[in-house]
């Protein structure tokens, strides 16, 4: 199989993404005779082989979807050997390093190869990734994964400590990416690895002190346009909200109390679910039930199209994108710089 090119049907040894529902996915490698246990029961690999990607597959207690592994789906579901870069940062890195087919990229450390998969996808078929990892087993695991995913032709994994020994590459790279605890130890060697016609570099560091030292190092070595950014993602939960109108007197004839047992009375926002199990598919659009209720209540003086939502005597209903609870507040600082030709 290959992350490099889509193909239609599931084959043995493919890595597939099982989609069970919102925030519920698994990456599995297809092997004849294997069984994968899910909350909907057992999933036999044999049943998946030969199906079209995107198909629904039934299990004893529900169903799931077989999705083609993109680097993004892989990032969300890969086995972590280290802390990884997520798609938000990966996107910015790929964009700021001007990645495209034919680009040659140097990376250290490989880690769990989350970013590596994305880089390879963006630079194939005529680009190449040289990735360096100082942990022997992690380097080996990354190499195996690239092989499993049909990407070996586009990547060279080297087990090496580049901070101590350098990249040993000269005038080859269009872009360098560093995710190291001590990046300034590798920056001089990174500069050498970049092409004489110039290139881009990125250093990812969680701590501001590391960023300060890296920027000083970049400036001393003649890099320009040194820029540090941070990018965070905020997801929205789309749901219809009913805000009941308050009662201003004891006289209850004017307005109706809010609908009892409404999903939206609950504080529990986890009620929102995209679960694909047959019994719990829930739709966010409650137009039908609202209409039934409001036929009896007095519709207020509103035009057919209300300003934001729908108002009745009892409620103000509207569709909202909600961000509640927590969101990622920090992953790392991304420092980019350009090396211009002399």
């Amino acid at each position: 199989m290959s992350l490099a090119k889509y193909h239609d049907k599931v084959k043995e040894n493919d890595t597939v993404i099982l989609y069970l529902g919102y925030d519920n996915m698994h990456a599995i490698k297809i092997k004849k005779g294997s069984v994968f246990q899910t909350r909907y029961g057992a999933l036999r690999h044999n049943d998946i082989i030969g199906t079209t990607y995107g198909s629904r597959v039934h299990c004893p207690k529900g169903y799931l979807y077989i999705l083609y592994p993109t680097p993004e789906l892989w990032t969300s579901n890969l086995p972590h050997r280290t802390q990884i870069l997520y798609t938000t940062d990966i996107s910015v890195v790929s964009f700021q390093l001007d990645l495209k087919p034919g680009a040659v990229v140097v990376e250290s450390g490989t880690g769990s190869a989350s970013l590596s998969h994305s880089i390879i996808r963006s630079i194939l078929p005529d680009g190449h990734l040289y990735t360096f990892e100082f942990h022997k087993e992690r380097a080996q695991k990354a190499e195996e994964e690239f092989k499993d995913h049909g990407l070996s032709d586009y990547v060279t994994v080297t087990h090496k400590d580049v901070c101590q020994f350098g990249f040993d590459l000269e005038d080859v790279a269009d872009a360098v990416f560093l995710d190291l605890p001590v990046p300034w130890d590798a920056i001089p060697s990174a500069k050498k690895a970049l092409k004489k016609q110039g290139g881009r570099i990125c250093s990812f560091s969680p701590c501001i002190e590391q960023v300060q030292k890296s920027c000083t190092c970049f400036a001393e070595l003649g890099f320009e346009e040194i820029s540090t950014k941070e990018c965070l993602v905020r997801n929205f939960d789309v749901r219809t909200i009913n805000l009941p109108n308050p009662e201003f007197s004891r006289d209850k004839t004017k307005s109706q109390p809010p609908k009892k047992g409404s999903r939206f009375d609950r504080d529990d926002m986890d009620a929102y679910s995209e679960e694909t199990a047959e019994n719990s598919a829930q739709c966010d659009i409650v137009e039908s039930s609202d209409t039934k209720e409001n036929k009896t209540s007095e519709v207020l003086d509103t035009p057919a199209w209300d300003y934001i939502g729908r108002k009745t005597a009892a409620n103000f209903s509207f569709k909202a994108g909600i961000s509640l609870g927590r969101m990622p507040g920090h992953t790392g600082y991304l420092t980019f710089a350009t090396l211009y030709p002399l």
Partner: protein, 453 residues
């Protein structure tokens, strides 16, 4: 599915575009000012109130730095660093410093005179420092900041860069964000990544952002794979694609698809391609149009053909030295040739779309995304990503709601990204004082095999 034409061999592609050539689109960057020009010899341009010709750039590497002297560009080494002009004297704080014009002894005329006499940037700054009564009383940091400001004002040094998506996005976002629907670089970055845009994919793009998204997609495809640009009107408006200067092979894989043809696409299922039926008079582009970038090239070839053909038959009927009649005839044959080519390309596009194996659908337009995505999703293969962009969360939520009703997607996500830049300096590190208030919203999802209900 037809395979894309063989792209240029790798080495050729790498070396041919690192040096500045006449005819290239080039970006001139001076500090924060980023402008794009076409390199044409003996033609003056204006940048930051300075007039000069671009001839001096030709032959140098992209990324080279130049100064302007007497209206011409001269390559220079890197610009001097602020620290190089600072002396040992500095103050501790600004309690005794007064902000007066008279602090600087040099007048504007003095400075202009120095520039005319060919003084180097560093010399001018050193002179300004010497003639400043307050400079030595400033703190080291204040001195650095002051020098940086003077450099920006008086030193006409700039870099020539090859246009790419990153620089075009930056340029437009700073200067005319409305033209790109306020797509910020991190949002565009997410679009490309979540769409899994890469070589060998076929991407359908609805783009009314001056071609920024189409250009970004073409760049990521690298010539492998096809792009279908859905656009309003008869002709797509995509100056950014022109600025990006793609080789012809890339552009040969770019198909235009006017909105007004979408209904005919839907009704054409099962029919074989019909070139004549498509060329209804009202959908014919006029001469010299940038509809498909292959139009101009091909039309020139067929133009010469029809011209020679036309003239030989004309000689009996008309006085063929009459320039007006000849021109009109030439225009008509160009229009005919264009018309035929246009229809041919459109048919090709329809045929390809009807195979229903689009690998990625991206919507980034000023129109209501819902009808676009619900209509075009039909042509996307199963287990493929779609990305809908809007400046407005409500539009994205609406598309989301309708798609959920149709039920042909899973793995939905409505999101926005937050971007902040930092000033990193010793003892002066903090986030930048100003930041972007918003970069737009995205809906991403993955298609599935639609179950027959």
């Amino acid at each position: 599915m037809a395979t894309s034409s063989e792209p240029m061999c790798v080495d050729e592609r790498k070396t041919s575009n690192v040096t500045i050539k006449e005819g290239d689109q080039a970006i001139l960057k001076k500090g924060k000012t980023v402008r794009i020009f076409q390199i044409r010899k003996n033609r003056d341009i204006w940048l930051d109130k300075i007039k000069f010709s671009l001839d001096g750039a030709v032959g140098h590497y992209y990324g080279s730095t130049f100064v302007v002297k007497n209206g011409h560009m001269h390559k220079v080494q890197k610009t001097f660093k602020e620290a190089e002009v600072l002396g040992p004297e500095k103050g501790t704080d600004n309690r005794d410093l007064h902000d007066l014009d008279s602090n600087q002894k040099l007048s504007r005329e003095d400075i202009e005179k120095m520039k005319k006499e060919g003084a180097k940037g560093q010399e001018i700054i050193e002179q300004l420092i010497e003639n400043s009564t307050t400079f030595k009383g400033k703190t080291e940091y204040a001195q650095e900041k002051w020098v940086k400001k003077k450099k920006q004002k008086h030193v006409a040094e700039f870099t020539v860069l090859k246009p790419n998506t990153r620089l075009m996005c930056q340029m437009y976002h700073e200067k005319s964000p409305a033209k790109i629907l306020n797509i910020r670089m991190d949002t565009l970055a997410q679009i490309l990544t979540y769409g899994n845009v890469h070589a060998f994919t076929n991407v359908a793009v609805v783009d009314t952002c001056s071609g920024l998204v189409v250009g970004a997609v073409l760049e990521r495809l690298g010539g492998y794979g096809k792009v279908f640009h859905f656009h309003p009107g008869e002709r797509p408006v995509r100056p950014i694609v022109d600025n990006l200067n793609f080789p012809q092979e890339f552009l040969d894989n770019l198909y235009n698809f006017p909105f007004c043809e979408i209904n005919s696409l839907k009704s054409e299922e099962g029919k074989s391609d019909d070139v004549i039926d498509n060329s209804h008079g009202d959908s014919v582009p006029s001469e010299g149009d940038s509809l498909s970038d292959t139009t101009v090239k091909q039309c020139t070839d067929s133009n010469t053909e029809t011209n020679t053909g036309g003239e030989s038959t004309e000689s009996q009927d008309k006085d063929n030295t009459d320039p007006v009649a000849r021109k009109r005839k030439a225009e008509m044959s160009t229009r005919e040739a264009n018309k035929i080519l246009y229809s041919k390309r459109l048919s090709e596009a329809k045929e390809l779309l009807l195979k229903r194996n689009i690998d990625c659908l991206i919507i980034a337009s000023k129109f209501n995304p819902t009808p676009l995505v619900t209509t075009l999703i039909e042509y996307v293969a199963p287990s493929r990503p779609i990305v809908v962009y809007s400046q407005y969360k409500e539009a994205v939520m609406d598309a989301y709601a309708y798609l959920r009703e149709i039920g042909c997607l899973v793995n939905y996500r409505v999101s926005e990204t937050w971007l902040r830049e930092y000033q990193i300096l010793p003892m002066r590190t903090h986030p930048e004082i100003q930041m972007s208030a918003g970069g737009g919203y995205l809906l991403t999802a993955t298609t599935i095999v639609k179950e027959q209900k």
